[in-house]
């Protein structure tokens, strides 16, 4: 398998797993041990760090009048990271180093926290103006700055 095929195969497994989390959480409002083990297996140490971020209610789903959405995740250091809803991207150093540069992992804890909190219905919601959304998407501003 090439790197690319490996990655797309892994992300198919990851997608499946996130769907499983969503379904199970809706039924039982908790994540059973076997799913936790699977999350750790697929996402490594990111999994527990992401769940920790969710416990602290660090994920906000921001939306604007146009219907555009984005995730804002408050990192451990208090910095706010904007992640997109349709593809894997995070401005944090771990994403640049482990995902982009070394190709060691699929995503960082912030992206995983955004997806998991969405699947579990545990993200905060915030509405902003279209112009504020543009600034958030471009990395110029964080929603809470304005």
């Amino acid at each position: 398998m090439t790197d690319y095929e490996m990655t797309s195969c892994l992300s198919a497994v990851a997608d499946q797993l996130l769907k499983e989390v969503q379904k199970t959480y809706q039924e039982k409002t908790q994540i059973p041990d076997d799913l936790l083990i699977a999350l750790r297996f697929v996402f490594g140490s990111c999994a527990l760090q992401a769940l920790d971020l969710i416990d602290k209610r660090s994920v906000t789903c921001v939306s604007s009048f146009s219907g555009r959405r984005a995730y804002q995740v408050m990192g451990g250091s208090g910095l706010l990271y904007t992640c997109y809803t349709s593809c894997h991207y995070c401005p944090c150093p771990a994403f640049t180093y482990t995902v982009l540069r070394r190709n060691d992992s699929l995503l960082c804890k912030h992206i995983l926290a955004a997806y998991l909190s969405q699947a579990m219905g545990l993200s905060q919601q915030e509405t902003v103006s279209d112009q504020q959304m543009s600034s958030i998407l471009s990395g110029r501003a964080a929603a809470t700055d304005t």
Partner: protein, 272 residues
Amino acid sequence: MADILTLVFKNYINQSGKPKDINIITPSKCSTLVVGENVINRSLLLLAAVTAASELGLKVSFFTQVQIQSLPGSLQDDMSNLSPENLKKIKFAYPNSLEDLLQDVASLHEPVSGSAAPPSLIVVDGLERFLRVPGLSGALQQAELASAAHIAALLFDTAAFLTASLEERAAELSPCRVIASFQSEGEGHAGGDPSASEPILSVLDRYFQVRCTLDRDLLSAPGARPQDSWHVYLSGAGIKEASLTKGEEDPNLPKEWHMLLQKNGSMEFTPV
């Protein structure tokens, strides 16, 4: 987006050759990265923008740092398609820096709240001008990778959002495609995959499903100057998909073309 590029190749096909059957080109959501020399890249992007506006009636947002001085020869030959009405569908913007480009692309969702339709094609000419800072090493090079991922991911996310909004508003104008160009540093060295030595290209490849590579054709056609003869080929995840579902590339369309640059600057394509 490779649907529009394929339409360009077909429109400017070499008449003397035996044209392959290229009938229906199905719309494709795949975004395309054109990798070649910046002057050729720009001409191809302009052809794509004009073809999208005049033949498909699509709105185009065209971002470049270089003022467009003249139209490629292919367009000068064939002015009949270029009514002012059609050209008005193309909106040019000249962001000065990566920050300006990010801001411009990030605000493309704003018209959706009003009555104006969003663009169906986003073109970014010369990504390398926005991304590359000369003489970088180590930590700064890492910042370059992060910037490349940021703009590529934003383009991807914007196209995904605008596609959904076009589908609701006017399905015939969907999907929203992205085509961007990048001049690889290894340009001019024949053979080999440039992304192996250029990490920035492999980052861009994560977000662009199709790559259109323009290589100098060293075994050029008889009579042609080597600098005028190009090998054009489509590759990437969007191309590999063997089965055709809605929004994917048609596996039956030619993936490889030979492009001959005429003296007046016009391009002529022959399927390989």
